[in-house]
Amino acid sequence: MNIALIQQALGYVIFSAIGAFVWAPLLTKILYKYKITRREEFDFTLKGGDRSKKVGTPIMGGLLVIITVTVVTIFFNWNRENTYVPIGVMAIAALLGATDDLLNIFGKKRRERKISHILNLIRIHKKWYMRLWYIFILPWEAFRKSAAILGSHPGRGIQVHEKLLFQFLAGAVTAWWIYFKLGIQWHSLWIPFDGQPFVGWWIIPIVIFFVMFTANAVNFADGLDGLAGGSLIITFLGLMIMSWTEGRVSFTLLNATTVGALVAYTYFNVKPARFQMGDVGSLGLGALLAINAIAINRTMLIPFVGFIFYIEIISVIIQVFCRRLLGRRFFKMAPIHHHFEFRGWSEEKIVMRFWLIHAFFVIVAIWMSLYK
């Protein structure tokens, strides 16, 4: 066991947590100054009830983690082979999230055009080149419309189809790095208790899928005070231990840095939240979670290290499937934490139980990861 490495990693946890604590008040001040807060008129989930208390809470608090991790890594753990791409991918995903957060507050309502409207225009527009143009854009519009089925309501922010494209880009960058830069041993996929079968280029779609899916999964879990933050601490702690047992120095330190920043973030995020993560944090950290697990060749353990996030996104998928295909609800509300809220559980009870369940599965993941 490399005790020196874990000692160094714990030092990073402490250093990063202190660093994040120090500049957290400044971030809060900036968010308040520029009114980057939850507003009732833009957020239908805030109308009335207990949730109305969340009006005025700053969002984009995830910047605390994203910026702390980026700065600490650039100055103390910068390694072109190891940490360069994870930080880059996290930045792409965080940028997407930040744009969405800002557009949700300051943007204008996006125009919706129905497919039937475009089909009509193709048929009846008096100018031939406009008809041609509408034929040309039809596949894109069909993609946009089909992606909108996945979203709950088109708002001011980035729309689902645009999010999917950006996340695909983040996944593609990760896949390029894994396949072309990390060497032939990364063309094999580690399977728990079953060795490492060679998958070749199939690793590319697998990586893209996990990056996209995990980023969205964390995004869905960011719905209750402390839920995403606390669960992410447990996840990155698990990843830190797994990287340590694998002897991956840069990744042990990167995960340690993230844990430290998340401790500071969660301190301010537990109920009543001083600020909320926002898409900037959830998408960025979701992508980082996936890439850090992939980079230590523990891709197949992502559903375990990100257990609660996967439960959240699967609950949304089941709900959308049942709603669209069968016309009924499977859960009272989705993601699943809202279902329990509807059943009368308090926010604290849901969050703490979810933390515990999540911690259990992260321990299972660590246990499985030790089998070569």
Binding site: F44, T45, K47, G48, G49, R51, S52, I149, R323, R324, L325, L326, G327, R328, R329, K332, M333, H338, F342, G344
Partner: protein, 267 residues
């Protein structure tokens, strides 16, 4: 002669939606033809059961509006000691404002489903012919979401129902089908015979009279008194909400319809 007890209970539940602590909330009328929502919840396209409508109202209240119901589904009154009819009216307005209600065919399907399940252990929605297999996509949809696909034309289809010409032969569960009615002849309507008492036919339906304004519509009872069984349905006395014949909008609808038939489900 009456419908089965479970069907009557369903009608009763539509007339008194089962909200906790508040009675007399009559289910409003809602037709999806205006909003044309696709792939939406059954209850949000006017095809929900009373229980589904109540459940959805609570969810909408918590998710979007709040303070109409609390987490236990109990009505939150905004004034102290409101009369029960005021509470019921407040909830009805909430339902109408949130597009919760039932259309005529949705109401009849849900009632008859209970009736046929109790009397014949048959799932009516699955037994009715909705669309041919050659139209594969629509057929799949009709198998997945049968209740949403059943409209008045399905009940007017000879594959599902047969025409009853003799008014004396009428039974509870028979349907009065009105096709191509309204000023523009562009909508259909259907009534359910609930009870026969001598020469009086008691019917029940989900309807929206223009005279009732934004919030007055919903499930309603009416009667047709058979003055002369040899004459057709329009020549009998229609009464609903104490209004008869020309003042009765249901009668007017029947009169305007291109087709007015009494039909019985063939199962």
């Amino acid at each position: 002669m009456k419908l089965s007890p479970s069907a009557l209970k369903t009608i009763h539940n539509y007339l008194n939606l089962p909200f906790v602590g508040v009675s007399g909330v009559r289910c409003p009328y809602f037709n999806n033809a205006r909003l044309r929502q696709r792939g939406q919840l059954k209850v949000l396209v006017g095809k929900g059961t009373p229980e589904e409508i109540v459940e959805e109202a609570k969810i909408i209240s918590i998710q979007y509006r709040a303070n109409v119901f609390d987490k236990n589904g109990v009505f939150n009154a905004h004034v102290e000691h409101p009369a029960e009819h005021e509470q019921a009216e407040c909830i009805r307005q909430f339902l109408v404002d949130n597009n919760l209600g039932v259309d005529c065919s949705g109401f009849i399907t849900n009632v008859l489903q209970k009736h046929f399940y109790e009397t014949k252990q048959i799932d009516l929605a699955r037994k009715l012919f909705i669309t041919p297999k050659k139209n594969f996509l629509r057929w799949i949809i009709s198998r997945l979401r049968p209740v949403e696909q059943i409209n008045v034309k399905v009940y007017a289809d000879n594959k599902n129902t047969e025409v009853i010409n003799n008014l004396k032969a009428l039974q509870p569960g028979d349907l009065i089908v009105i096709l191509k009615t309204g000023p523009n002849k562009n909508h259909d309507h259907i009534l359910l015979v609930e009870e026969i008492e001598g020469n009086i036919i008691k019917y029940v339906h989900a309807r929206a009279w223009s005279s009732e304004g934004k919030y007055g519509h919903g499930i309603a009872h009416g009667t047709i008194s058979i003055a002369n069984p040899e004459k057709n349905l329009l020549e009998q006395v229609w009464e609903e909400k104490e209004k008869t014949n020309e003042n009765n909008e249901t009668y007017l609808e029947a009169k305007q319809g291109e087709i007015l038939e009494i039909r019985r489900i063939k199962l």
